[in-house]
Symmetry: D5
Subunit: 146 residues, 10 copies
Amino acid sequence: MKKIHVTELIIEKKRTAGLTWEKIAADIGMSEVFTTSACLGMNAFPRDKADLLVRNLGLPQEAALVLAEFPTKIFSQAVPTDPCVYRLYEIVAVYGDTIKELINEKFGNGIMSAIDFDMEIDRIPSPKGDRVELKMRGKYLAYNAW
Amino acid sequence: MKKIHVTELIIEKKRTAGLTWEKIAADIGMSEVFTTSACLGMNAFPRDKADLLVRNLGLPQEAALVLAEFPTKIFSQAVPTDPCVYRLYEIVAVYGDTIKELINEKFGNGIMSAIDFDMEIDRIPSPKGDRVELKMRGKYLAYNAW
Amino acid sequence: MKKIHVTELIIEKKRTAGLTWEKIAADIGMSEVFTTSACLGMNAFPRDKADLLVRNLGLPQEAALVLAEFPTKIFSQAVPTDPCVYRLYEIVAVYGDTIKELINEKFGNGIMSAIDFDMEIDRIPSPKGDRVELKMRGKYLAYNAW
Amino acid sequence: MKKIHVTELIIEKKRTAGLTWEKIAADIGMSEVFTTSACLGMNAFPRDKADLLVRNLGLPQEAALVLAEFPTKIFSQAVPTDPCVYRLYEIVAVYGDTIKELINEKFGNGIMSAIDFDMEIDRIPSPKGDRVELKMRGKYLAYNAW
Amino acid sequence: MKKIHVTELIIEKKRTAGLTWEKIAADIGMSEVFTTSACLGMNAFPRDKADLLVRNLGLPQEAALVLAEFPTKIFSQAVPTDPCVYRLYEIVAVYGDTIKELINEKFGNGIMSAIDFDMEIDRIPSPKGDRVELKMRGKYLAYNAW
Amino acid sequence: MKKIHVTELIIEKKRTAGLTWEKIAADIGMSEVFTTSACLGMNAFPRDKADLLVRNLGLPQEAALVLAEFPTKIFSQAVPTDPCVYRLYEIVAVYGDTIKELINEKFGNGIMSAIDFDMEIDRIPSPKGDRVELKMRGKYLAYNAW
Amino acid sequence: MKKIHVTELIIEKKRTAGLTWEKIAADIGMSEVFTTSACLGMNAFPRDKADLLVRNLGLPQEAALVLAEFPTKIFSQAVPTDPCVYRLYEIVAVYGDTIKELINEKFGNGIMSAIDFDMEIDRIPSPKGDRVELKMRGKYLAYNAW
Amino acid sequence: MKKIHVTELIIEKKRTAGLTWEKIAADIGMSEVFTTSACLGMNAFPRDKADLLVRNLGLPQEAALVLAEFPTKIFSQAVPTDPCVYRLYEIVAVYGDTIKELINEKFGNGIMSAIDFDMEIDRIPSPKGDRVELKMRGKYLAYNAW
Amino acid sequence: MKKIHVTELIIEKKRTAGLTWEKIAADIGMSEVFTTSACLGMNAFPRDKADLLVRNLGLPQEAALVLAEFPTKIFSQAVPTDPCVYRLYEIVAVYGDTIKELINEKFGNGIMSAIDFDMEIDRIPSPKGDRVELKMRGKYLAYNAW
Amino acid sequence: MKKIHVTELIIEKKRTAGLTWEKIAADIGMSEVFTTSACLGMNAFPRDKADLLVRNLGLPQEAALVLAEFPTKIFSQAVPTDPCVYRLYEIVAVYGDTIKELINEKFGNGIMSAIDFDMEIDRIPSPKGDRVELKMRGKYLAYNAW
C-alpha cells in the first residue's frame, strides 16, 4: 500500500459518504489545508492524527502507517496546466521579484521558508463578487555568512 | 525608452537616495506590492500615479508615459532559480491541488483570478523567529456552461 | 470510475449508435462545444444535464456523478502535434500579440477570460471552399491596481 | 532595415501621434487585425498598402519594401507567458480536441487552415460585464488520400 | 479496438504471410506511402478501401471501421531518434529556410500544404550506389490579407 | 567576416539589384537549392563557384573564402515555428515511420543519406491549384554488421 | 514477441548460464560490440547469425526472426544519466568541434558515417591503471554539391 | 581577454597563414586532438606549450596566460545539431549501453574516465572509401564501496 | 527479478521489522550511505555483502545476485522536485563555480571524482538547532594533456 | 555597476596581482568558500567585509555597495555542463534519495537548509591519490503540521 492508494480510498469514501474536507479536517482537529494536502499525499500526518483519520473514515489500519510516512514530493510538470493551479504559478512568476524585494526590505537577506510553513484559504464576501483569500506564512530564514 | 530603462532609473534613484519601496509607495498613495511590481515593469500605473511617482523621484517626464503603458509580461524560466522565488514555486507545486480542492469546495467549479487580484506582505513577529505573511486575494471566477 | 472511463463509454456508444455530437448536445439542450468538451472530460456538466445525458445514452448512473465533477485539466504536450490542433496553436502564436494590442485598445489593461467563456463552431459556405468559423467570447477582466 | 526596426518606428509614431490601430487600419482600408499583425512583423502587406501606410505615418520609403516582404515567423516560447496570450493558449489546449471532433463531424477528415485565414476582434456589450469576441475563419482543408 | 491494435494485427499478418507494403497497397489500389501510413495509424482509409484491406488480410470486420476513423496524430519526440527518421529531420532543419525562400520566389507568400499532400518513394539505380528518392507534392496555399 | 555577414551582403545585393535565387544560381551553373542553401550559410561552395558568385554580385574578395569554408550547421529550435518550415517538420513526423518501412522494404536495413544528398523544388501546375514539388535524393547507406 | 522480449530472454540466459558477451559473440563468429548491441535491440543480426545465436542459447525459434528484423532505435533521454554513458556524451560535447575540425582538415567537407560504422573495445594494461580503449571507424561521407 | 578571443585570433592567423592543426600541434610537440581542443577553449595548455604557441603564431603575450587557464566547459545544446557532431552523439546513444556492458565485463563495475583521457583521429585508406578512425583511451575508474 | 523489486522487498521488510538503515548497514559491516544507496538500486554490493544482507533480512537468494549486479543509474528529472533533494541541487547550482575555483586552486586543473567517491551524513548538535552535515570525499582527477 | 562587473574587476585584480582565494578570504577574515561565492556574485558580503575587501583589492568604493547587495541567483542550465560541476550534480542525482532517507531517519520529516548553510573544501592527502573533501552543514528544518 502506497500513499497514492490511500488517497484513492479517501477520495472514494469522501464521495460516497458526502463528506467535505472541512469536516474531515475538523474531525481530527487539524486545519483544512494541511489535512487536504496530507490526504493528497503531499504531507505526513502525525501518527495520532493518522490513526484518528483512519478510524473516522473506516479505512484499513495499514493506511495510518502510510499516512504518517514521509512523502517524496514529485511534481511532474514544470508548468502546471490546470487553470486553477496555473493562475497561482502565474502569480509567482509575475510577483516573484516583487516579493523578494519586499522580504529583503522588511527582513534582510533571506527567504520565506516553504518547510516551516502554514497556509489557510478563506472566502471573502464582496458585493462585486466574492474573493478567494490565500494566507501563507513561513518562517523567515536568513542567509548565513561564514 | 522602455519599461526596463525606467526600472533601472528607479532602482538607481532608490539606492542613491536611500529610499525604500515602502516610502515610494506611501508617497503616491498606493500599496507596496503594487508599486514595487509596477516599478519592476510587471504592472501599469494609473496615469496620475505615474506622474506623481516621476515627480517624486525626479525622473524624466517620458517615464510617466512608459510606466502607464500596458506591460507584456515575459518570464523566461519555467522553473525560477533564485531561492526566494523558487520556494514560492515549490509551494504552488506542493499545495496546488489542495488549493484547487478547497476553492471547489468553498465556491464551486472555478478559480481565483490572477487579474482581478491584490496581495500584501507583512512581517509577523514570533518568539520562534519572525514569519513572512503573504495575503493574496483574487476574485472568484466560475466556469461557464452554455 | 474516472472521467476517462466515462469518455470511453460515450465514444463507444456514439459510434455504435451512430450518434453525432450535434444530436447528443441538442438532446440535453446544451451547446455542441460545451457538450463535446464536457464529454471529453474538460468541463463539468451541471448535475441535471449529466443525469439527462446518462439517461439518453444508457450509461450507468455513476457516470452522471463523474460527469458533474470538477475536472483537473491536464494537457501533456506544450506544443500540440495533431495538425488540426497545431494550427490553432500556431494562430495563437502568430496573432497573440495582435490580439493583446487590440484588447488593450478596445477595453483597457486586461484580458479575455478563459473561464467565463463560451465558443461556437460553424460551417460557412463559400464558393472558393467552405470555411470553418470559430467564435470565442470571454468576459473582459481588467487588471487591478491597489 | 529589418521588420523589427519598422515595427519600432510604427510603435513610436503611434504613441507620439496618439494614433490607434483602428485608425491606422482604416486609413489604408484594411482590417484592424491584419494591419496590426503586419505592423508587428507577422504578416506581409500588399505592396500598395505598404506604400500607403508609410506615407500616412511619414516613415522612410525603405520601410514600405520591408513591410511587403515575406516574414519569417519565429515565436520563441513554447508556452506564452503574458497572461492575455496565455489564456488563448489555454483555450486551445482545453478545447483543441473538441474543435477537432466538431470539424471532423461538420466537414470530414481535415483541418481549418491557418494560412487562408482571417480574424476579427469585437467588443460585445453585456450588463454582466462586456465580452471580448474573437471570430476566426479559415478555409477547410481535406486530407488527401492517394 | 483502437488504431494501435489494428496496426499490430496488420504487422503480424504481414510478417506471418510474408507480405510487403507494396503488395498490400497494390491489392487495394492505393499508393504504397498512403497505405503504409494509414496502416500505421497516421491516416484514415476511405471506407471502401478499409473494407477491402480487412477482407484481403482476414482481419476482424471492426478493424475496417477503425481504419476509416480520423486519427489523432501524436508524435512524442520533438527530435526523432531513429537514424533513418532523424536524417529527414536534419534535412528539414538544414534546408528549411532554403525551401521557404524558393517557395516564396516561385509562388509568392505562402506555404506547401501538409494536408492536401501526397508523396512517393522510389529506388533510383546508380553506379555509385543506388539512391532513395522522395517526391513530395503539396498544394500551394497563399496567405490571406484582409 | 563570418558566414552570417556574407549572407547579409548577398540578401541586400539581391534585394537592391532585383535578383532571384534562380538567376544567381544559373549564373554560377549550380542548382537553385544548393546555391540558396550555401548563400544562407548551410553549405560550402566549391572554391571556383564561390569566386564566380563573388564576382557576379560584386562582393568583397574575402567573401569567397568564407563561402568556401565548411559551415557549422546550428539550428536553434527543436520544433521550427515558421509555418512554411513547420509543415515540413510535420510531414517528417507523420510520415517518418512510413518512409523507414518503405526504405527497409526496397533497400534493406539502412537509411537515406542526408550528406550525399540533393534536392530540387518545382512548381507543378494544376487546375485545382498549383502544387509545390520537393524531390529529395540521397544515397542509400546500409548498416554495417561486423 | 518484440525485440525487448528477446533481449530479456538473452540477459536471463546469459546470467543463469554464466555466459559472457565475449563468448556469445565468439560462438557466432561476430564481434563483441556488434553482438552485444544487436542483443540489446540496437542492431539487426544477419539471418544466419540470428539462427545460430538462437540455437546456441536455446531460445524459441521465433526469436531468430525478431533478432533479424530492422530495429527502430529510440533513445529516450537527450542527456544520458548513467555515469558510464554520460562520460561518452561529455566527450562528444567537449571534443565534438575538435573532431569536426580534424575530419575537415584530413578529408574535406564531410562527416564520419554512423551507419557504415564499426567499433571495438579493448583493455589496455598500464602501470598507472589500465585504460579502456574505444576504437571507432566509420566511412568518410563527403557533402554533395550540385 | 578571454578564451573566446584567443580562439578567434588563432583561427584568423591559421586562415591567413594557411596553417593546419597538424602543423600547429607539431610545432609545439603536442598531439593534434589536444592542441585543437585547447585552441578551441576546451582544454588548458601547460604553460610552456602556451608560451611556445603564442610565439609561433605571433599572438600577444597575454594570450599565453589565457591559454593556460582552466576552462569552464559550457555546451549549450543538449542535442548537437551539426551533422558531423550529431553522428557522434547518435553513436553514443545507440552504443552506450553496449559499451557499458563490455566495460563492466572486461573491468568490473566502473567507467572510462573522460578526464584522464586521450584521443586520436586517423585516416584509414580503404578501397571502398577511406574511413575515419577515432581512438579514445580513458583510465578505468572503479566504483568505490565503503 | 530486477533491482526495483529487491528494493521494494527491502523497504517492506524494513518497515514491518522496524529496522533502520543504520542497523541494516551495521549488520553487514558497511557504511550507512553506501548501504542505503545500494539498497535503493544506485550501487552494487560486493557479492559477500549481498549474501549477508539477504540472509539478515530473509530475502530470496536470487536477490543477492541482483544486489551485486552493476546498476544502470537512471534519474528521470533534470531538476529534482522533492524539497529535500532540491535543496542539494540548489547548493550545487549556487556553489558549483565556487567549488570549481577552489579545487583548481588547491589541486590544479581537474575534478573531484564521483566514482572513486564516498560520503557520510551526521547530526551535529547545536543550541540554535541541530545541523545536518554531509561529508563527501572523491579522488582528485587531473585532466590529461597529450 | 552590477555584481557581474565587480566580479570581473576582482578576477582581473586576482590574476594580475597573483592572488589566491585563500589569501583574499584570509585578509578579510572570512572563509574561502563564502568569500569566493560572494565574489562570484552568489552571496552578499556583510557591509564591513565588503569595505575591507574593496580596500584590500583597490577597487572603486561603489563596489562595496554592490558586494553587500542581495543577489538574484540565476543559474541558466538545468543540467550543468562543466565536468567539475556536473559531477556534483550527478552525486545529488545518485545519492539524493539516500540522503533524504538518512535525514529522515536521523532527524524526522524535514530537510537540510540551503540558506542557513555553510561549507568548506579541503585537500585530504592519500597515498592512492589525494582526495577532495566537501563538508556541507545546513540547519535541520522540520516540516510544519497545523
